[in-house]
């Protein structure tokens, strides 16, 4: 079992890591909790599974890539 977790922009700086691997599945919220050692998730955090936006209660499966990032500000 291997889940890749990525953090971007301000969240990467707050969490202090860009990427890590977890060996247990669960939902997106539980991935966050384990990856950040239970840091509170900022309200406006966006989540993605395999590069598609998702909710925090979406299930995460073996091999998935889960990403957390702040509101987007491109353009």
């Amino acid at each position: 079992m291997s889940i890749t977790v990525k953090f971007f922009a301000r969240l990467r700086e707050q969490v202090g890591k860009a990427e890590l691997t977890l060996d247990d599945a669960g939902d997106v919220q539980s991935i966050w909790d384990r990856a950040t050692e239970n840091m509170p998730m900022p309200d406006n955090t966006l989540c993605a599974i395999n590069m598609e936006y998702s909710n925090t209660d979406a299930p995460v499966r073996d091999g998935d890539e889960v990403a957390f990032f702040p509101p987007v500000t491109g353009g």
């Binding site: 301000r10 993605a48 500000t73």
Partner: protein
């Protein structure tokens, strides 16, 4: 339909001309609408000296393609081009280019606006501004 993420400065007019010459059939399009976003040297009352744009390689491209696909379903379009800068940049450099080619102007104008608004709200890019006093993340985009 072309999506480009560039880490070096680009010339939006040259990109438009090149795409038009290489990808479009002369005589088929009657309307070309484009939008260019350029870096300012001020934001929220402060001088901004540089900006670093971060993205999520893979997801960013995928969402830009998705947005072009949606525009092609909603309007009668011949082609779309999106070019977006990443990395460190300076005032007066172009950040983003969206171009739409269609037979008539209504489709081109509306779809070009759609590409920009959707890009700003859904494509994963993040701006960090560099000022004399240090750096700050841009929290949200200005309303369109």
């Amino acid at each position: 339909m072309t999506v480009k993420i560039l880490s070096n400065a680009f010339d939006p007019w040259q990109e438009t001309q090149q795409h038009q010459q290489n990808q479009l059939e002369a005589g088929k399009y009657g309307a070309t609408a484009s939008f260019v976003g350029t870096m300012r040297d001020f934001n929220q009352g402060d001088d901004v000296a540089s900006m670093t744009l971060e993205h999520y390689p893979g997801m960013t491209e995928s969402y830009l393609h998705k947005i072009c696909d949606e525009a092609k379903q909603r309007w009668q379009l011949i082609d779309c081009l999106i070019v977006h800068r990443v990395g460190e940049m300076h005032p007066n450099e172009p950040i983003v280019l969206t171009v739409v080619w269609s037979a008539h102007r209504k489709d081109a104008f509306e779809a070009c606006r759609y590409l920009m608004e959707e890009l700003k709200s859904r494509a994963p890019f993040w701006k960090k501004e560099g000022m004399a006093e240090g750096h700050r993340w841009v929290d949200k985009n200005t309303p369109g």
